[in-house]
Symmetry: C2
Subunit: 402 residues, 2 copies
C-alpha cells in the first residue's frame, strides 16, 4: 500500500520594508507592499511533513509535538482547503492520479528555534505547510502561486516561498489574486548579506501583530501617508539597491523603514511599543558604528531592523560581522559562548570591543541576559523538499517520538 | 538716586499639541501651531530680577547663581535687545522718562525646581526674563506682544506669557510678527485641571530638542503630513474641548498628539527616542486606568503627555488625582514621602493601590528611583510682578547671597 507523504523545510524571512496593516483581514490583503530577506535554513527553519491517507478520519496538525486544533474557517483550515482544491484540479485533468484531494491529511511541523526566542515562526511555518502539501500533491504551482495560499495563513509567510530578496506585491484586486510574492533577486545574486539576530528579553507582553496592525489602520493619522506616499518609493529604491548590490542604500532604507513602522505603531491609539530600552541601545550602537565609518570616508556598514517585538536583526556584508559581534558583546555580555557558524573567531572566542573612534558613551553596558542570545546567519534559499528519512510522521501517521 | 529694577515670576507650560520643527531657526518660527496648559507658579516657577543702571558696564545675567555669557547674536542678547528697542519707542514718545534703554542691565534668574528634575526651564526662564524687563521698562505691551520676543529666546517660552490654556499660533509672515501666543481660556475657566509630573530617571543623554527637531524637519517623511493635515484639525478640536470643559476629548487629543510627536521623532534619521521603558510603563498604566473607566460606562480620567524627555505629565480632573497618585506609587515606589500640596492624603501618607477591575499585569513594578519624584500641581496663572522684597539683586547690582 502506498504512503503519500512529503516533507519540506521553509525559511524565516525578515522584512526591510515592513508589512503593517490589512485592507482585507480575511484574505490577508495588505495596505502596502513589503520586501524581505530570506534567512538561511541551515540555521533557522520550519520543517513539515504532510501525509494523505484514506484511513485518516480528519485533518490533524501537530506543531512542535503538540496537536493544534484546526478551526473551521480558520487560517490553517483555509490553507489546507486551498491546497486540496489545487490537487483536485490536477486530478480532474489526469484520472490516473490517486484521489488524494479526498483524503484527510496529517501534518506535523517543527521549528528548529525555540518559540521563546521570540522569532516569529508563522512565516516559516505556513510556508512549510504549503510547500509540503504542494510536494505531497505534486502540484505544478510556482512559488508565486503558492504564495497566494501561504499569504492566507500568515501574510508574511508568502515571502518565505522564495529565497534571496523577496517582494510581496500588495496587489489591487478585491479577490487577492494579485497579492503575491515575487523574487527580486536570488541569494546567489548577493550572498554577501549576513544577519545577526539579537534575541532581546522583554518583561512586557507585546500587542499581537494581528490586532495591533488593524488598530493602526483604524487610528493612526500617519499610516495613510506612509501607505500612499512613502512605501511605493521605498519599494522602488530598495529594489534598485538590491539589484546594484548597494549596501549603503539598502541599509539606509531598511533602517528608515523599521523606524517608520515603529513610528506608526506609536501613532496608534492606544500606542503600541515593540522596542524597549535594549532595542534602543542596539540602535544607538549601530548608528554610532555607521557614523564612525562615514566620518572616515566610508559607507554604512550595518542596518538594524525590528519586527513586532524587541529583537534586533542586523544586516551587514559578511566582512563586517566580526566587528558587529564584538560590538554587541561589548555592551551585552552573553551567558553562553557565541555559536560561530562561519568561524569568525578562533578557539578563544569573542572578546567584546569597539572600533577605533567609537564613542562608548552612546549606550551603557547591560547585564548578562539583556540580550539573551545571538544568532549569526545569512541570506538563504527558498523551501527545500527533503527525503523520506527526514519525515516527522511515524508509520502510524502520528508524530514520531524525538 | 533711583533704583530701576523689577522682579517677576513666570510659569512652566506643558504642551498638549506639541511644537516640533522650525521653519525659521533664527526667528524661531514653528512649522505648526501648538497649545499648552500653564502650570501653577506656586509650585514651579522661574523668578527674574532685572535692573538698569548707568553704572553698569555691560549686560550681565546670572542663572541659578552662575553667570552666563550673553553671546552676541544669541538668544538672550536678542531678547534683551528687543526689549530695549521697545523701551526706546516709549521713551521717544515721552521725553520725561528716564533713558533706561541706554543703560546696561543686570539680570538674575532662579528656578525653584532643580535642573536635575529634567523639567525644561527655558520656557519659564525666557518668559520671566521678558516679563521682568517689561516691568522694569514699564512697557504698555500686551502678553501677546511680549510673546513675540520670548519666542525668540525659546519657542515654547511664548506660551508662558499667559496663564490657563494657551495657543501659539504658528503665523505665516516671514518676519514672524504673527507667530505669537494667545489665551484660549484663563485658568478660572477650568481650574479643575490638575497635573502630576512623574520625574523619570534616564541613563541616556537625550538629543537636544533644538537639534532634534530640525533633524526631523529634514528627514521625517511623516512630519509634513502631521504639519499639513493633522495639527490644524487637532488645534481646533482641543480648543473646542477646552472651551466646553470636555475632559474626555481633551485627554484623547492630548495623548494622541504626544504619541504622534514621539512617532515623528522616531521617524527621524537617525531616530530620536525620548521615552524609555519607565515612560512606556506609565503610558500602559494610564491606558489601563482609562480602560477600566470606559468599561464601566465612564469617560477618560487621565491623559499622559511627554515632552523631549522621559518625564510623564499626567493631566486629570482634580477628583482623579488621588487614584492616580496611588496608581503611580503602586508601581513606582518613592524614596521620599509624597509632597501633598492639595492635602489628598492624611498623615499616614499614600499607599500604592489600583482601582477595582484594573489588570495589574499591564506593567511590572519598578524599583525605588525609577520614578525619582512626583510633583502635584494644576493649571496656573501667567507671569506675576513681585514686590521689591523679592528682588534677587543686592544693592551692589550683583546676585544676593541665598
Amino acid at each position: 500500500m502506498s504512503v503519500y507523504q512529503a516533507t519540506t523545510s521553509a525559511p524565516v524571512n525578515i522584512a526591510c520594508i515592513k508589512y503593517w496593516g490589512k485592507r482585507d483581514t480575511k484574505l490577508i490583503l495588505p495596505t502596502n507592499s513589503s520586501l524581505s530577506v530570506t534567512l538561511d535554513q541551515d540555521h533557522l527553519r520550519s520543517t513539515t511533513t504532510s501525509r494523505a491517507d484514506p484511513s485518516f478520519k480528519k485533518d490533524r496538525l501537530w506543531l512542535n509535538g503538540v496537536e493544534e486544533e484546526i478551526k473551521d474557517g480558520g487560517r490553517m483550515a483555509t490553507c489546507i482547503q486551498e491546497m486540496k482544491r489545487l490537487r483536485k484540479e490536477v486530478e480532474a485533468k489526469d484520472s490516473s492520479l490517486p484521489k488524494l484531494s479526498g483524503y484527510a491529511v496529517h501534518i506535523c511541523s517543527r521549528n528548529n528555534f525555540p518559540t521563546a526566542a521570540g522569532l516569529a515562526s508563522s512565516a516559516s511555518g505556513f510556508a512549510a505547510l504549503v510547500s509540503s502539501l504542494a510536494a505531497l500533491y505534486a502540484l505544478p504551482a510556482t512559488p508565486s502561486e503558492l504564495s497566494l495560499i501561504a499569504r492566507q495563513g500568515s501574510g508574511s509567510a508568502c515571502r518565505s516561498l522564495f529565497g534571496g530578496f523577496v517582494a510581496w506585491q500588495m496587489g489591487f484586486k478585491p479577490d487577492g489574486s494579485d497579492s503575491l510574492a515575487i523574487e527580486v533577486a536570488p541569494r546567489e545574486h548577493w550572498p554577501d548579506i549576513h544577519a545577526l539576530i539579537c534575541v532581546v528579553s522583554d518583561d512586557k507582553k507585546g500587542t499581537s501583530s494581528t490586532s495591533g496592525m488593524q488598530r493602526t489602520v483604524e487610528t493612526s493619522a500617519l499610516l495613510q501617508h506612509r501607505i500612499a506616499h512613502v512605501v511605493p518609493a521605498r519599494m522602488e529604491a530598495i529594489t534598485a539597491a538590491i539589484l546594484a548590490r548597494d549596501f549603503d542604500a539598502f541599509a539606509r532604507i531598511t533602517m528608515q523603514d523599521s523606524n517608520q513602522f515603529h513610528a506608526v505603531a506609536l501613532d496608534t491609539d492606544p500606542p503600541i511599543f515593540y522596542m524597549n530600552d535594549v532595542s534602543r541601545a542596539i540602535i544607538a550602537l549601530i548608528v554610532e558604528y555607521n557614523r564612525v565609518s562615514v566620518a572616515n570616508g566610508g559607507k554604512l556598514k550595518a542596518a538594524y531592523t525590528y519586527d513586532a517585538g524587541p529583537n534586533a536583526v542586523i544586516y551587514a556584508p559578511k566582512e563586517n560581522l566580526k566587528e558587529i559581534v564584538e560590538l554587541i558583546i561589548n555592551y551585552f555580555p552573553q551567558a553562553e559562548p557565541f555559536k560561530d557558524p562561519f568561524g569568525l573567531f578562533g578557539a578563544a572566542g569573542v572578546q567584546g570591543k569597539v572600533v577605533d573612534g567609537f564613542n562608548p558613551a552612546v549606550a551603557r553596558p547591560f547585564g548578562v541576559g539583556a540580550v539573551k542570545g545571538l544568532i549569526h546567519t545569512r541570506v538563504g534559499d527558498g523551501p527545500r523538499v527533503l527525503g523520506a528519512g527526514d519525515g516527522l510522521l511515524g508509520a502510524d501517521g502520528l508524530p514520531r517520538a524525538d
